[in-house]
Symmetry: C2
Subunit: 340 residues, 2 copies
């Protein structure tokens, strides 16, 4: 670990050229005698040589760096990583990347021109972007030819792989679950539908499930707010007013459902007696609430892992434009009551 042992130092030490050392270290096609190989390898150990990645990447025009971009804010001013959903995705991407010898550079500042500049400057070999809903930036990204995989994105631009869950199905299952439990007057608490493709799909699922059961959708019972604990809590004021007529509610995010449950307490409405609630995401915390939150499960960590797999494929020049859809399922806990 002595400062600055270079390839040249190793080469001199062994008495060969830097090219030979480079070939040995990178296992290229060149034929090198076993003696020389061993001599080089042990010199590397002895001298404590480590490659200079900048030089390596500059010379080879490849890089072992990938970027992960998350939205700047979701709901409030906190970093989105404070939301364990993003944290878990990030963690699983990093784990996969590390195993493959890649490092992860993060940015919590949305996918914007600034980020594209960085990706470009750093010669990132790939980008994973979470929750992008604007086509504009994607077409710019497309020009850079950097491999990109999106997570939970709904865009017209179809140049990229996309890993997501079946959002519509999730919402459909959630709504149907309430219906199966005897509910017919079911509300919907969600993020802003216009700006957010995920919310659009989930709204579709809700709509279709109602339709199939012959229930009219009541627009008064669709509550759009930002996605956060606090906004969920604040929604309680409006939702309480819809009671007792409304008996069930589909929430498109566990965080909103959790905030809501807290907020409802103020209005003395208890879950699930006065209102059945079903969440979405199955965050770890959902299992530790009282009552436990019945919710739509998605394999969060798997999303990250799958995204990295796809990215690696693209980096290696394989496949393109896949839409990878992970399954969802209902996790039954205690926040939904069966209506007789």
């Amino acid at each position: 670990m002595n400062s600055k042992v270079t390839l040249k130092d190793v080469a001199d030490y062994v008495g060969v050229s830097t090219a030979t050392v480079s070939y040995v270290l990178n296992g290229k096609q060149q034929s090198i005698s076993d003696e020389t190989k061993e001599a080089i390898l042990s010199a590397v150990k002895e001298l404590g040589y480590y490659p200079n990645m900048n030089a390596k990447e500059l010379a080879s025009n490849r890089s072992q760096l990938i970027g992960v971009v998350v939205p700047q804010t979701e709901g409030d001013n906190k970093s989105v990583f404070a939301n364990s959903f993003y944290g878990e995705i990030l963690g699983s991407i990093e784990r996969e990347a590390r195993q493959q010898g890649y490092q992860v550079v993060i940015s919590c500042a949305d996918l914007d021109d600034n980020y594209i500049r960085i990706a470009y400057e750093r010669n990132l070999s790939g980008i994973i972007a979470i929750g992008v809903y604007q086509d504009g930036i994607l077409s710019k990204l497309s020009e850079t030819k950097i491999p990109v995989v999106l997570i939970d994105s709904y865009c017209k631009t179809k140049d990229f792989d996309n890993v997501r869950i079946d959002d519509e199905q999730g919402s459909y299952l959630a709504t149907s679950y309430l219906i199966r439990n005897g509910h017919r007057r079911i509300g919907f608490l969600c993020g802003h539908i216009q700006e957010n493709g995920v919310m659009q799909k989930r709204f579709q699922g809700y709509r279709k499930a109602l339709e199939k059961a012959g229930i009219n959708l009541n627009p008064q019972w669709v509550f759009e707010r930002k996605v956060s604990f606090e906004e969920g809590r604040l929604a309680a004021a409006y939702i309480a007013k819809a009671l007792p007529e409304m008996t069930g509610l589909v929430c498109t995010a566990d965080v909103m459902a959790i905030g809501l449950m807290k907020g409802l307490h103020t209005y003395r409405v208890t879950v699930p007696e006065d209102l059945s609630i079903i969440g979405f995401d199955d965050l770890e915390i959902a299992n530790y609430l009282e009552p436990g939150l019945t919710t739509v499960h998605q394999a969060i960590a798997e999303k990250g892992a799958k995204a990295f797999d796809s990215l690696l494929n693209e980096i290696r020049g394989n496949s393109r434009q896949q839409d990878i859809v992970l399954p969802v399922s209902i996790i039954e806990r205690e926040s939904v009551k069966e209506l007789k």
Copy 2:
């Protein structure tokens, strides 16, 4: 954004040497006429030139990359980023870094030799490491001369800045709060004390507060477990047995307190009627539970921000070996009952 516009391209376009362009772009001391400056700047725009960071860092031997290292696992097999405590710190570091033109490379694999290698290879200009309790690796890091700032670390090695809260004081406050509320038979649920400096300090605080109030510490009521929701839940079995004698409990992590509350439900013990609980960290979720979790607040995001500030100072060659201690305070919610 056309592929590979280099400094040379800009220089040729304007009709000057690459040196001149470099001087203009980096604002160095060299005197350059305004005309030339403007010509270069507009050529940069026109051609869509972006520097190649690898080349830049190679030539200048500086880098705009910092590393953030978190422990591999805490409690269970999930990525620690799923714990919003770490997520929030990471987010705040990234925000600060971005504003200063730095990028953040993450690693969730503990601070180990492998990471030091990466730091070295990548020429990281600094490292922020969270929750390091082993001196061995720190002395190795010390040799590399890379600026390092630790967060929540308690190590003998005093070569580095350390940002933390007053853990002992936090625990002391928490315990005193229970005492002030009439509790005298107070338990302690914590992480493994031996392996974890933070837990040691918090245990001290608990001990001292009891001592000051003339209360004997009952070792039976000290529950050591891993720090996670699930381990908190599992602890309920043992803690329930200590009731009704024990009336209050200090938890050294909100996640444990939350898991515990869930677990206690199974044993039909209610909080705070049957047991008063005070947490530690003031995670966002603490405010959205029912009952709201009374807890020791720490400014999590600020920890990250302060750590980056310190790091930047060191990178710039200023100050060394500061111990930055952020304040703690009690947030009163509803999980503690006043005993008559």
